[in-house]
Subunit: 462 residues, 2 copies
């Protein structure tokens, strides 16, 4: 078996085992879409020679590069990218801020939003997207295929539309909408699940416990179980949800989900900012996962998501950028940094949420939160070849010191994302030489500039 690509002499972060798995002079060998060797460069070269692996088609000298697993954005709505910055520094962000614009996003703008978001994220080393769809759309699936990204499309089921805007009252749930979105979710599942040799793998996405009826909640769980799909759901995400749950069911969200047997290892909750400590423990102890979106929740709510208590209860926490409309960033480096900062703030303790933990949350723990830990999240033999190089010669990452080792801290606290020099997903190069290899970036930016007028005109969707 020939080696398609050998990376050598890297600052290698395998993220295998405990800690960050640092190997000072490391190598990774890739054949097809899989990793076939990982370790010290000399050892890997010797092992490959001894195994008679034959020709090495391409060698990449990664001296001065950090080599990491591709970063994982475990919760994002790529379709909202064009709303970056339209709703900021305000109360009632969802109802008054983003929803009025969101509802007016034309299908073409939804795709441009996803393209813009993916451009930003890929250039910052994100290789896997837990993309929670807002608008179920086959065109988005086709973009996943062409762009080369790894995606968990989270197929949304919802029974609520603009009525949401009428605050305070119990929402009118729309059974027809619920049925239609459920059917569309199953249709997209049937057509795209497992596509591109498993690069596209769906999840079931009952939108939020207050956005669907009890009947639909059960139906989603049953369908997910039947098809072996994990579930991701916005959970305990705000006062509004708590109020709705108490009005409709006389229960808080977590007990309600528990009663419907949602709290199991196949379930990933997003946000949980409104969960109390007992509820955080209950979800973690059930083996469910959590995705926190520090940038988004910080700006939208001025709150710190419960990553630390969830971890203290033994749970696994991944990171999500949520969307450009609230966070303004779709950049896992940004999330790592904010997650570490917010942890320290929460505990008023600089040792809280250290850099190595944030890096794990952006990689292997994110993979667990998406149910993909057997395939990605660390650099190990047999896993998919999703990896990035980060050029340490940028001023922001200098100097690199071995003892005391400073590179983990600098990747988390100093890197901005633009130090990423190379991205491979599923064995395919998608970013190199400063350019995305699978998208016409200039065309995307130009179309955005031409169709989202910038000056002295009301934007079409506004």
């Amino acid at each position: 078996m020939a080696v398609d690509c050998l990376f050598k002499h890297a600052h290698l972060f395998t993220l295998a085992g405990e800690g960050v798995g640092y190997i000072p002079d490391g190598a990774v060998a890739v054949t097809g879409n899989r990793i076939i060797a990982v370790g010290d460069t000399n050892q890997v070269l010797a092992d490959l020679a001894a195994a008679g692996n034959g020709v090495i088609k391409q060698e990449i000298d990664a001296t001065h590069q950090a080599l990491l697993p591709g970063l994982i954005d475990a919760h994002i709505h790529t379709q909202l990218g064009l709303l970056r910055g339209v709703a900021q520094d305000m109360h009632d962000w969802m109802m008054q801020g983003v929803l009025p614009y969101m509802l007016e996003l034309k299908p073409r703008w939804q795709i441009l939003s996803s393209q813009l978001t993916v451009m930003e994220a890929l250039r910052a080393g994100t290789t896997t997207f837990g993309d929670f769809l807002v608008f179920p759309d086959p065109a988005l699936m086709e973009f996943y295929l062409s762009s080369g990204i790894r995606v968990r499309p989270i197929l949304p089921v919802f029974e609520i539309g603009p009525e949401l805007l009428a605050g305070g009252k119990l929402y009118q749930l729309d059974d027809h909408m619920g049925q239609a979105s459920y059917n569309e979710a199953l249709r997209l599942y049937a057509e795209y699940h497992g596509a591109a040799d498993g690069r596209i793998q769906c999840m079931m996405g009952p939108f939020a416990p207050d956005f669907i009826s009890e009947k639909t909640l059960v139906k989603c769980k049953d369908a997910a179980a039947a098809k072996g799909l994990p579930i991701q759901m916005h959970t305990a995400q705000g006062d509004r949800e708590t109020e709705q749950m108490e009005m409709r069911y006389k229960k808080r969200t977590i007990p309600y989900l528990d009663e419907h047997e949602y709290l199991d290892p196949e379930f990933t909750a997003v946000h949980m900012t409104m969960a109390n400590n007992d509820e955080v423990h209950q979800v973690a102890e059930a083996g469910s996962k959590l995705v926190v979106c520090n940038g988004s929740i910080g700006l939208i709510d001025g709150m710190i998501p419960p990553a630390i208590p969830f971890q203290e209860a033994g749970g696994t926490v991944g990171l999500g950028s949520d969307q450009a409309a609230g966070n303004n960033n779709c950049n896992v480096f940004n999330e790592m940094k904010l997650t570490a900062f917010f942890g320290k703030m929460r505990n008023q303790d600089p040792t809280a949420m250290p850099a190595d933990r944030a890096l794990r949350m952006a990689t292997i723990d994110g993979a667990k939160a998406l149910g993909l830990e057997d395939e990605i999240g660390s650099l190990e033999v047999g896993k998919k070849a999703d990896l990035i190089l980060v050029d340490t010669r940028h001023p922001t990452l200098q100097p690199v010191i071995e003892d005391p080792f400073n590179l983990t801290a600098n990747l988390v606290y100093a890197a901005r994302g633009n130090e990423v020099s190379f991205v491979m997903i599923d064995g395919r190069v998608v970013f190199d030489d400063g350019k995305l290899q699978t998208m016409d970036e200039d065309a995307v930016i130009q179309e955005i500039r031409e169709t989202v007028p910038s000056r002295r005109k009301k934007v079409g969707f506004m």
Copy 2:
């Protein structure tokens, strides 16, 4: 009078008056090192023609660029840049984390540190540095001159050395060290104050109230008053300081400084994380300024600096990155973002510390904190030509929407710093075409890589 450089068709943020002074299609004309016209592009062109200003030597079409005053890092120790990431996620950062390495920084590494820091900062649009010297050194002053940056060198006076490491006890102050550093401060002042047509203007820097004797505190104030220099001082920056002040003087820091008539408009306090609410009000009401370092204090202490209460008391607050050794970043975009986030966290309110306020803190308020508001901090006729262009075509800043206006929010929450495309200081281009025009960046990085060994060796200064 000819125009040396005319910027036109920019998204212009003048920062003049209240708010951010946005002009959708704006122009700035520069002659020599001064701004001679600012406003709507057509108006500026008409005014220049009517005034018979003659030839326009260079026109820069800034369509798709945000044009801003150069950013102001009002408190930074550039000489610690090589310590990036060596002391992280720990308690007792100063004593146990950074000081052991700092004391071993050879003079050449001190200069390399400053060069690295300035490279990072200039590329992120910082034009003015409140550089609090750790090691008084004429070579640093020469670097200021050659690099073209605007600097308030804050000339340090201190009477304490490695004894600091003995925690808990009252420090031994060293009168000889105080005398020597005071003399060196005055020598550097005499040689460099006002150099490069005022681009270098010194401040007096009694290091911290617990680092100098009462006698030296008074001497610094007298010298500053005699020479018309403002004072910057680390103030109420930690438990250790409070303990020392109470042991030595039976007083807390702010009453002690008040008693010595430090609290006046010529005084800028840095940090004040340990000041209580009454003390914050007292300092603000005296007309003294505050510089907060959110990135640094957040990582080092897990604390939120008192920017909001200081502003509520009517005070002016600038931003500082402090140093790479604790913050890991010397990037005012990063400080703007963290300042806004931390404000929202502090108040648990997403409307707290809005984007436009953060942008003012990074520009005009930073200028006030350095006593330079008559020269810089906004784009107004007669001010020095310190300005930056930020390319909005980066994915991180797309789209640009006029209504609802999203660019201020995106500059603060989305920009990473690397979107800066052009930097002019004092009428001189220092960054353009992706390269610093006044420094050999590759040579700096190469020397760092060669002299700060990265692998499997103890670093010399460690």
